[in-house]
């Protein structure tokens, strides 16, 4: 019987593994709907461990949006750790959902949200555990339709062998359209089998079905052409954009796990999209334009969410939260509202700006004052012009000293290493900055115990950004620069001991680069790595660089390309990129110009305040920047 609970066969296995709580479901605000009452069944997967996947906003939103439909049912599934996976294989227990403990293979659709490409091997592992054929071509109409979403879905080519379709852009409305198509096809008695269903899905706005597009290659390894194989599917697939976020106040009932997760707080997305134009930032490029939630919309989501969860911290989420047109008023009015309740509000990392210190002071008035995080991203003023995140050294030091003077003792600074045009000197300036920050901080606060943590990761060029043409820095380059930085920070122990350095080595970034800008040929590498035991590639204890390089060398040789061809090679202007037929709304010419301006260290303005239609997103997609201020205020909450 489909939709039956596997819990009775799973339970004896749970007694034998680590952290069994992550597999039992029953989280606060989780739902288990009756199987037969729904016409369309969705399994939603975040392809990483439960503790990482559960707080994911995208999955939480779609879970709730789908479950609100009487004709749909959505349950969640996550990557299973190797201890349980081994027992499941030995005992014939397939990949299951944590809500109803139903077999993933019983569902009509398996939606997988890819926030990072390093989850690809976990998709293969889940398909195999689920008993779903690994390759899309081997599936028939009894198998779930595997749908990729999330930011990585803007170049799904490396996983095009394994997924049936990819959704570009916002999912809230797209999942509804897909549900309608599947429901109608099932009601009609599944005419034309799986091919017909996929053809119908390919005509849904924002849905890309790779099998209906053929890719040919030139002798030099580059793509010769991408052509559609049916004329009833779009030549280019555009992205979905939800307008008016106040109409989509999800998650309304955020999930609260018993198990520990990476985010022990609830989040409210205060706006989507970003037009700051940071050239490295894929999220900022592919989620344009800026669409703000109003102050009142945010206020009611915070209130409803806190009541529904009991969390004591609310993160005001977005790509650059201090840029919300009503942020000052919002911070003050929320802090007033939660005065005396030990509820704290926080912003994710912010731009370096003194105003953000004021904001953070206001937001932390009622609760725990953790550290402040700024993201200058580049070590030198020159490299910050290249990436279009301009802030002078003086402003940076002044802002951080202000934070220390206001009682913050711990400041975190985020940087990247391996940016285009970067030299050793650009990275070494991070050390100078950190030293100056500590000196100025000790002076401003009158305390010796101020601390600064420098967090630095290797830059990975991403599709649909001006840096999509850039040659990625090699792992050796990254590791060498990080070594020089560590030495420079430790040169003066009296200051160096107040500076923490957190970094990752350059190797995982190279593989992320391969998967980010790869094409269909990379699918064989992913499959080979998974067959050789690769999974949980986002976890250093599971990631094996050697396994990836060996697989890449052996699987790509037949095509005359290699790992470096996909990563460290700089692309030329007219090369056909694997994702050119996927439309993020950005004009390729605009991106190229922006890339050229980056190389000549020229900045570009934020179009929120200086109207501009250059990038191509507005108004061709029927979208427009939506910002306030609205002039409204938060009303006091009524006492219950």
């Amino acid at each position: 019987m489909t939709g039956e609970s596997l819990y009775p066969v799973l339970e004896p296995l749970l007694a034998q593994i680590q952290k069994p709580i992550q597999y039992v479901g029953g989280e606060l605000n989780a739902q288990v709907k009756p199987w037969d009452a729904a016409a369309v069944h969705w399994a939603l997967m975040y392809p990483d461990a439960y503790e990482v996947g559960l707080p994911n906003q995208g999955v939480m939103i779609l879970y709730e949006v789908l479950n609100e439909r009487p004709d749909a049912l959505a349950e969640r599934t996550y990557a299973v750790w190797p201890d349980l996976a081994g027992l499941m294989r030995a005992n014939g227990v397939p990949q299951f959902t944590v809500d109803g403990h139903r077999a993933v293979a019983d569902f009509d659709l398996l939606g997988v949200s890819f926030a990072t490409e390093l989850g690809y091997t976990n998709l293969l592992e889940a398909l195999d555990l689920a008993g779903i054929p690994l390759h899309a071509v081997d599936r028939d109409e009894t198998h779930p339709v595997v749908v990729a979403g999330g930011h990585a879905a803007f170049n799904p080519e490396p996983v095009s062998d394994f997924v049936d379709c990819a959704v570009l852009g916002d999912g809230e409305q797209a999942v509804g359209d897909i549900t309608d198509v599947v429901k109608a096809w099932k009601a009609e008695g599944r005419p034309g089998g799986r091919t017909e269903l996929l053809a119908r899905l390919a005509r849904v706005d924002g849905v890309y079905v790779p099998r209906f597009y053929a890719v040919s290659y030139r002798a030099d390894g580059a793509i010769a052409a991408v052509t559609r194989t049916r004329d009833d599917v779009p030549a280019r697939v555009g992205k979905r954009t939800v307008m008016d976020l106040d109409e989509w106040p999800y998650p309304k009932q955020p999930l609260v796990p018993m198990a520990e997760s990476v985010h022990e707080r609830m989040s409210v997305e205060i706006f989507r999209g970003c037009t700051r134009g940071c050239r490295f930032c894929q999220a900022g490029m592919i989620t344009r334009p800026v669409r703000e939630r109003t102050i009142t919309g945010i206020g009611s989501m915070v209130d409803a969410g806190l009541r529904a969860t009991g969390y004591e911290e609310v993160g005001l989420l977005s790509l650059s939260s201090a840029d919300h047109s009503e942020i000052g008023q919002l911070a003050k009015e929320l802090a007033d509202r939660y005065e005396g309740t030990n509820t704290s509000l926080s912003l994710p990392s912010t731009r370096v700006d003194a105003f953000n210190v004021t904001l953070a002071n206001e937001l932390s008035r009622n609760g725990r004052r953790s550290g402040l995080t700024f993201a200058p991203e580049g070590g030198s003023e020159r490299i910050r012009r290249v990436i279009n995140k301009t802030v002078s050294k003086e402003d940076l030091v002044r802002t951080v000293s202000t934070a220390y003077a206001n009682g913050w003792r711990q400041v975190k600074l985020y940087f990247m290493c391996g940016l285009p045009t970067e030299t050793d000197e650009d990275v070494l300036e991070i050390a100078e900055l950190a030293v100056e920050v500590i000196r100025a901080g000790r002076e401003a606060s009158g305390q010796k115990d101020v601390r600064c943590t420098v967090s630095i990761g290797g830059f990975v060029p991403k599709p649909h950004t001006p840096f999509q043409w850039a040659g990625q820095a090699s792992a050796e380059t990254i590791d060498n620069r990080l070594r020089l930085l560590r030495q420079a920070i430790n040169a003066d122990r009296r200051i160096g001991r107040s500076i923490g350095l957190r970094y990752h080595d350059g190797k995982p970034g190279v593989i992320e680069g391969l998967l980010s800008r790869g094409d269909r040929r990379v699918g064989r590498v992913i499959e080979r790595v998974w067959r050789d035991g690769g999974k949980f590639d986002g976890w250093s204890e599971h990631f094996s660089f050697d396994r990836w390089t060996t697989a890449a060398a052996e699987e790509l040789a037949a095509f005359g390309v290699d790992l470096d061809w996909f990563t460290t090679r700089e692309r030329t202007e007219h090369e056909i990129l694997p994702w050119d037929h996927l439309d993020s709304g950005l004009d390729k010419e605009w991106l190229w110009e922006d890339w050229q301006e980056a190389l000549s260290e020229e900045e570009v303005a934020d179009c929120r305040w200086t109207p501009c239609y250059d990038c191509g997103v507005c108004p061709t997609n029927g979208t427009e920047i939506q910002i306030g201020p609205t002039g409204r205020s938060l009303l006091p909450l009524t006492v219950v």
């Binding site: 004896p12 018993m258 520990e260 004591e312 030990n342 609760g367």
Partner: protein, 255 residues
Amino acid sequence: MARQPDGPPPPPTVQKLRIRYAKRGRLRFASHRDLARTLERALRRAQVPMAFSAGFSPHPKISYLGAAPTGAASEAEYLEIGVAERCDPEALRLALDAALPPDVVVLECVEAGDGLGSLADRIDASVWRVELPGVTLAELAPAVEAFLAADVVTVAKRTKNGLRDVDARVAVAGASAAEEAGCAILHMVVRQVTPAVRPDDVLAALAAVADLRPPLPPRAVRAAQGRLDDSGTVADPLGPDRAARTHCQGEHAAV
């Protein structure tokens, strides 16, 4: 000089309440920390007026007593909370129970009596009931007998510092075998010693002395906790507080 946050200190604790709760069903897989997180959030949703510690990182005043291990169910877990406004214990019990998942059940809430001593001093032993699916009484009874006849039964136990040898026998104050619906049941009273001896350790000891190897994972339930007296009885740790309350009722404010 230690830095202190601006503003007045948090309001003091005006009342302490002691709570007994059960973890059942799927939530036997919850660890102590999972339960602590869940309880703290449920207390907030139930709008219990918790007292908080002072400082930059205020924490609600909650103390947990010896938690049942991950994988074991329990009918007798205890915690004590401090509140900043007086609460009616029964109203608080109902509100907290409603805010918790169905498999965490708040069984009792009593006000801590003045001068009656700490809850921790009233607990030094656990009463366990372990179901052994696939094992018969005829297999379990001689194993228990052999275990009880031994002076020392050393088992290897996984601890933070790796494997360590522990005597499982010394902690067991009493044990007996029974059967229900064809499934053997092990009843035992285990002293709370350091390092802890858990049902798993006793089962490992049964394997060591009598080669008893259950074909399916056993299911342990902690039936009670309390102070073990010389007669082998485990006393109800909330008894003294409950007795004191029956003598002075009628002064509670409502939640």
